[in-house]
Symmetry: C2
Subunit: 232 residues, 2 copies
DNA sequence: CGTACCTTTGATGTGAATCAAGAGTAGTGG
DNA sequence: CCACTACTCTTGATTCACATCAAAGGTACG
């Protein structure tokens, strides 16, 4: 398939990170960026590869995961449009600690380290945004560590479902919510540090308890508060 | 005890973060900093407290941990002199996701968010260092996630012991190394996501296997490579 | 419409937690 | 200096949450 060219500037300006860039700054970043198309199942980089910049997902879906000796793997993050990854390694001169694979046909933008560093020198707003972005990532990793170490399998699944609820509706109030799983159950199981079998059983139990109803990847949460309080 | 005053400038200039500050910048940061003394067991902040800046450990030892409903807790990090914490929350206007407690009598420096933001505006080198610091933190959290999800209890303990070896000696070569546990075995167990009982049994097994010898907090590693390869 | 991969369900296994005593070890005050 | 109390650490028996193994269904797609 031929690489269809497109103007990345309007896209860049809609990302939180680049929101307040001046036109010429956006131009500079766009000029220093390259697009990369991946088809489903294709590898973007392996754990251990050198990092020369970071990526923004334009469309499609990317998973970040650790490989493991026994062939299984641990999914760290599932990324969709507008999300970025690889910023941290770029500031450290270290190889990627995870590998990246396309879960669906995807279009990415690669932004070189040099372009970022150049922007950093003159634009402290950009620096602040970059810091905020990394902080957010750090915060959510800390949440993951908390979940893995302090919560049961069921609690992790419940937490995940509640997070998928439309914002401001994630379990503070009673009432029905409809959500859609962002990936296959295998991938979600790995993201939650579970086997597919265990995830399947937990979904079954939640259904039997009348807390959710499921058809494929579509889930109806009957009562967010009761769900949150299930299993303590 | 009276708060003994001291000049924080030379201290600040020896931290990686502030290494290349101009004298007047260091002065400004020092002026915006406050010292805080804690005695063993004292709480610095609770999970959920608002964050107005970050802390640098001058002396002593601080633990960061999650509280848990059942009274037990999960230690996220053990921090010693020259290490800092709380940077990330300061960029996000969020409350602390962990609590901080002194493991020993400690002296900390608190640096206000305003001082950091002011420095950020004029000094892109500082911004880069701050980004590098956060990136490093992020990287080590990712390592933790990998360890918790892909490695067995024994492998986590072995990894921890190897990390404690003097730098450049952490298991790449054969030979004896002497190390000292940086905290009580309870705290280390929690840091490794283990119960004290399990940690004790693993130390016992490693001793029986002739890989280590232990007296109190002092451990002799007989052969770093054999240890690394134990338990795969 | 068949083949390859997801997902579910059931039976069994196991690593580490929990429960329950003891054995150090360290500070405290008489 | 020696109890006295309070931990921290070890050791053993038992339990349990989740993984693993095995075998059917489902579902999607070339």
């Amino acid at each position: 398939m031929p690489s269809i060219p497109f103007d990345p500037v309007p896209l860049l300006l809609r990302l939180p990170l680049f929101q307040e860039l001046l036109p010429e700054q956006a131009q500079a970043i766009a000029a220093a960026s390259r697009q990369r198309r991946l088809s489903r199942g294709e590898m973007l980089f392996q754990k251990g590869d050198p990092a020369h910049g970071f990526f923004v997902v334009v469309s499609g879906q990317i998973k970040l995961a650790f490989p493991s000796l026994q062939g299984n793997e641990k999914v760290v993050e599932i990324l969709g449009p507008r999300q970025s990854f690889g910023e941290a390694v770029m500031f450290m001169d270290r190889p990627y600690p995870v590998f990246a694979e396309a879960l669906a046909d995807s279009l990415l933008l690669f932004i070189s380290r040099e372009a970022v560093f150049a922007l950093l020198v003159h634009d402290s707003t950009f620096a602040r945004r970059m810091l905020a972005g990394l902080s957010l990532r750090l915060h959510s990793l800390v949440q993951d560590v908390e979940a893995y170490s302090l919560r049961s399998a069921t609690q992790r699944v419940v937490g995940f479902l509640l997070q998928l609820c439309p914002h401001g509706m994630n379990g503070e109030t009673h009432g029905k919510r409809e959500i859609h799983l962002p990936a296959s159950k295998q991938v979600i199981a790995s993201r939650l540090n579970l086997t597919p079998e265990t995830l399947s059983r937990i979904f079954h139990d939640l259904s039997v308890a009348g807390l959710i109803a499921m058809r494929g990847k579509d889930i109806v949460i009957h009562d967010a508060i009761r769900l949150r309080e299930y299993d303590l």
